[in-house]
């Protein structure tokens, strides 16, 4: 050992460091593909557009409720509930209550329940 040439040890050490750094960089690149997949799956699975759209439809129902009364608008309520179950695999229910005073305005409470087996969503809004 003592007679070995010990010059260039820094170069060897730096080479080792570079190799280790490359190793970790490669690991990170390797993860990035998977991260994109899980993100995309998460976005696809979460029914953001469905819920927004359902709220819009329910607000349309509340307008019809005002216009036609609870008996005639019942059919629209049933449209939304039954088509949701049949075509969207989602259990949906919603109710419209009597007007009440909310911060000085007379608004109707609208309760929405949504469950598609993966995402459960409940909301009470005043409209």
């Amino acid at each position: 050992m003592a007679r070995m040439n010990e010059e260039g040890q820094w170069i060897v050490l730096m080479g080792l460091l570079v190799a280790v750094a490359l190793f970790f960089l490669a690991l990170i690149v390797n993860q990035s593909a998977l991260v994109g997949q899980t993100t995309a799956e998460g976005v696809l699975e979460f029914p953001k557009n469905d819920i927004r759209d359902l709220r819009g439809a329910i607000l349309g129902y509340v307008d019809a409720y005002e216009k036609y009364g609870s008996d005639k608008s019942k059919a629209i309520h049933d449209d939304i509930v039954e088509i949701s179950l049949e075509r969207k695999n989602a259990v949906v229910n919603f109710t419209v209550g009597e007007r009440r005073d909310v911060s000085g305005r007379e608004l109707r409470p609208v309760e929405i329940h949504y469950n598609n087996g993966v995402t459960e969503y409940d909301e009470t809004m005043y409209y």
Partner: protein, 169 residues
């Protein structure tokens, strides 16, 4: 007796060789990222695009005005609905997205069941094996008689579901 003066050099050579091999393997195998269909990234983008276009078409041009989507459904213009939908999807900078295809369906409730009818004629290139996404939109259909929608009750307004199957050929 074999001369053993170079043993450390040998070990170092072996270690360096292993490290280089490992690094080369990892670098080469990871810089080529596989984005096959089952990563769902294109699906996610397509679904978002379709939802946005439907939302846009469901918005009236003016206050208390009628929106495009209801107009197309009322007047049995399933073809126009599909073409306008695709035009809106392709409205972007860069090359035209000529491969985009769509098929429009309508779901509505009759007195005893939920019916789904195609609004646009079937795409002849559709093999049912495409990687499709489905986007939907609730539409308020006013009361009236619609001869192209079988068995729909005419005496009341409806909430109907517009479903668009969207894929790249």
């Amino acid at each position: 007796m074999v001369n053993d003066t170079g043993q450390l050099y040998t070990m170092e050579g072996v270690a360096a060789g292993l490290i280089m091999l490992l690094t080369a393997y990892i670098v080469i195998s990871t810089t080529s990222i596989y984005t096959t269909g089952d990563t769902h990234i294109p699906d996610m983008q397509l679904e978002q695009l379709g939802s946005d276009v439907l939302a846009m078409m469901d918005t009236p041009d003016k206050e208390r005005g009628e929106n495009q989507l209801v107009g197309f459904i009322k007047n049995d213009q399933g073809d126009d609905l599909r073409d306008r939908f695709l035009d809106n999807c392709k409205m972007r900078a860069g090359d035209a997205d000529a491969d985009l295809r769509a098929q429009v369906y309508l779901s509505y409730r009759t007195s005893d069941s939920v019916n789904t009818i195609p609004l646009s004629p079937a795409d002849e290139s559709f093999t049912r094996r495409e990687n499709t996404v489905r986007v939907t939109r609730w539409v308020q259909l006013p009361s009236g008689s619609y001869s192209h929608i079988p068995n729909i009750e005419t005496s009341r307004p409806h909430a109907v579901l517009v479903e668009v199957l969207l894929w790249r050929a």
